[in-house]
Symmetry: C2
Subunit: 220 residues, 2 copies
């Protein structure tokens, strides 16, 4: 087995991904290619070349928001852990997850709702220009729709929960609302997704915004 | 969209997974079925029904170790975040990841190696009976092989890094070493895997050990 540096390994992996996409006859759009490739890199699953749907200008608008210091909010601590801290620091951005916040848990219990719902409410109030990423809870997507109907305009919604029940419907609902209300969106249609996918999408955007798409520029 | 409780959603999801496994003509072995189903639940990817390889008695031995309070070590903080804290607490177990440990970073830099390698060394010394899960770094698997050759006998190795370069070889190497040295192993052969997969495998084992496989018993 060869011993190569992480930057070299990433570059070699992306070349393999590119050539296998070509073999499959898949041509990625220039503006979204980075994001799709990084998700395939994180999952080794080429289905994402077909599943990921981008609203018009979503990548460009998200990159612009990140360059203006937009915060990133995730629905799980697992996705949060995967988001590049060094990248966000370079952009003067920050990352948050409210799921483990004791106040969120208490309020969810009192109101008989989920922590995912209360977390979205909290973000809509405290971080109205954030990027909100959902890798787990379809109820978070439905609450995002409700908050958007009431005026919430996040910089981007990443809607990639994984699952077999309620997930397809929630993704369709958030996609439709984002298009109608002109909120940028990246959604993994179908069942697939997860915290890894959410983090990979966020990192592709952060790297683009912070000029770190070339792995050599990530200080390894 | 129906509003159902998390426990109900999980149960309905597992039923869908079971019936689709049957449709595909896949019959899971009784002792490993929980683990495979939980990975499919976490990824919506039925490839794992074919990819996951278990050494003889791996599940039983891992469950026994967890019931004796074995620690869980992961190669990323992302996988660590996904591991059930309540489950481990019920078992008097604990979870660890040494990747962000400043001493590990310093030592890796001084010696020109990776943090993943130093983390394995640290676990082999400090937690000789741990369950070691690798969702990301193939170099961690190779270091596990080296440590096992020197006498390290973890309670289980979960070898599920994802990737396109060096990953297949590292999985084959750890699988061969585990069989030869009689260390229980669960390995996702091929390219696929990741932190989500590592966490799902660990949680299936933790739930089994803590009598929490039925989601109603997880205190939702």
């Amino acid at each position: 087995m060869e011993h190569r540096k992480p930057a070299e390994i990433e570059r070699a992996s992306m070349e393999i991904i590119n050539s296998e996409l070509t073999e499959r006859g898949i041509l990625l759009a220039e503006d979204t290619a980075d994001v799709v490739r990084r998700v395939i890199h994180a999952t080794a699953d080429f289905d994402y070349a077909e599943n990921l749907r981008f609203s018009p200008g979503a990548v460009e608008r998200a990159v612009g928001a990140l360059r203006s210091g937009a915060s990133v909010v995730t629905d799980t601590n697992m996705a949060l852990s995967g988001v590049s801290g060094p990248g966000l620091r370079r952009l003067n951005g920050s990352k948050h997850c409210f799921m483990a916040d004791p106040q969120v848990a208490m309020e969810a219990k009192e109101r008989g709702t989920t922590r995912a719902v209360v977390s979205v409410e909290k973000a809509a109030e405290a971080l109205p220009n954030c990027i909100y990423a959902v890798g787990n809870a379809p109820t978070a997507l439905l609450e995002l729709v409700r908050q958007m109907e009431q005026g919430f305009r996040p910089a981007l919604i990443v809607g990639v929960p994984v699952g077999f029940v309620n997930v397809l419907e929630a993704k369709e609902a958030v996609w439709e609302a984002c298009l109608r209300l002109e909120v940028p969106a990246i959604v993994a249609m179908g069942r697939k997704g997860g915290s890894t996918v959410a983090a990979a999408i966020l990192n592709a955007l952060i790297y683009r915004a912070a000029d770190m798409t070339d792995p050599e520029k990530r200080g390894w």
